[in-house]
């Protein structure tokens, strides 16, 4: 395999991993659009939107990757009712509702884990990988730039001239 072959090989590997990574990120970004329907009365649309965004924010404790809004598990239904009660009947703020659920179900219900001694590596791994990727990319680019242009011998020039003339 020549140097061009090798370069092609390393670039395709890089592209493959970049592709995998972006697919993963895309997958996380696309939240389930469906939601379970409970009939609750709201004073106005703003209240209803708040309820919707809250139930979409929390993770159903019974399910691994479904939010309260999207799960048909009985516990999700109960927690939706709880969110409604806290928001509408008790007048809790969003943060109070978050704290309420977290005190009972732990960080698990928050999709957004806080930075702590137990979770630091979750936060730092992507940053570390990003730095690693940049370093590798920098090295590859630097090497490509350093490569001297190939000098053509008189023989080569002669062959080129003949080939061009033949046309």
């Amino acid at each position: 395999m020549g140097s061009a072959g090798r370069k092609f090989y390393s670039i395709s590997v890089a592209v493959f991993f970049a592709g995998c990574l972006s697919l993963l990120m895309l997958g996380n970004g696309v939240a389930s659009a469906e939601s379970q329907i409970d009939i609750y009365p709201f004073a106005d649309e703003a209240e209803e939107r708040r309820y919707k965004s809250l139930t979409e924010e929390f993770r159903c404790p019974k399910c691994l990757n479904t939010n309260l809004a999207g799960s048909d598990a009985p516990i999700a239904k109960d927690l939706r009712r709880t969110v409604y009660r806290l928001q509408v009947d008790e007048g809790y703020s969003d943060q109070q509702i978050r704290d309420y659920l977290r005190e009972r179900y732990g960080d698990f219900v928050l999709y957004d884990p806080p930075f702590s001694t137990q979770t630091w590596y979750i936060w730092l791994t992507p940053i570390g990988l990003g730095i690693l990727a940049l370093a590798i990319l920098g090295r590859l680019l630097g090497r490509a730039r350093k490569q001297a242009p190939v000098a053509l011998s008189d023989d080569d020039l002669g062959r080129i001239a003949t080939l061009l003339e033949e046309k």
Binding site: P61, P74, D78, T82, R102, R104, Y105, G106
Partner: protein, 187 residues
């Protein structure tokens, strides 16, 4: 580029594989930590299933180690752990508290008549609100409390002989020793 760098992608692939292998085998749903661990059991006031005019509060759970077992008649695993609960009730001094979670009270009473009642207190939590206070997301779930009413252990899933002997019994014995140590000199 050296020959060795050809193996870099393979190395990356193998480490992703290893990460996945470890990660997926870690994913034991029973290990979901309780937010209540090492914290006081929440205050509550619940109706007694067997005496509907009696209210049971946290005060009744204090003074000796307690096993709070969340169960329901709709839960097949609760049926399979029932025998073990009966044995625990017969063999130890632990205060047995049942939380009848999101259940039909008549069915629960019938269940206890039919299979035996291991509990000192049975709380009627038909709407699941006490369950939410406890961070319960299914049944059965079991909490071990010390005499001061703090949660020292939580188990999601059934209590079988193995779990009782390896996880609960040693903790229960430690609590008993701790209690005797505190009240011993006074007697």
């Amino acid at each position: 580029m050296s020959r060795a760098s050809f193996f870099v992608p393979l190395g990356i692939f193998l480490s992703i594989l290893a990460l996945g292998y470890v990660g997926f085998s870690l994913d034991a749903r029973n290990q979901l930590p309780s937010a209540l661990l090492n914290k006081p059991f929440p205050e509550f006031s619940a109706t007694s299933l067997l005496q509907p005019d009696v209210k049971i509060t946290k005060a009744e759970l204090l003074g000796r180690p307690a096993l709070v077992n969340v169960w329901a008649t709709w839960c097949p695993t609760c049926k399979s752990e029932h025998e073990q609960l009966m044995r625990i009730a017969a063999e130890t001094d632990v205060l047995m508290v049942g939380v009848d979670y999101k259940d039909i009270p008549e069915r629960a009473v019938q269940w206890l008549e039919q299979y035996g009642n291991p509990y000192d207190y049975v709380l009627d939590d038909r709407d699941g609100s006490l369950g939410i206070e406890l961070g319960v997301y299914g049944a059965p779930e079991t909490f071990l409390l010390n005499a001061a009413g703090e949660v020292v252990y939580k188990r999601v899933g059934d209590i079988n002989v193995r779990i009782w002997e390896s996880e609960l019994l040693p903790r229960f014995q430690a609590l008993e020793i701790e209690m005797r140590g505190q009240s011993g000199p006074g007697r």
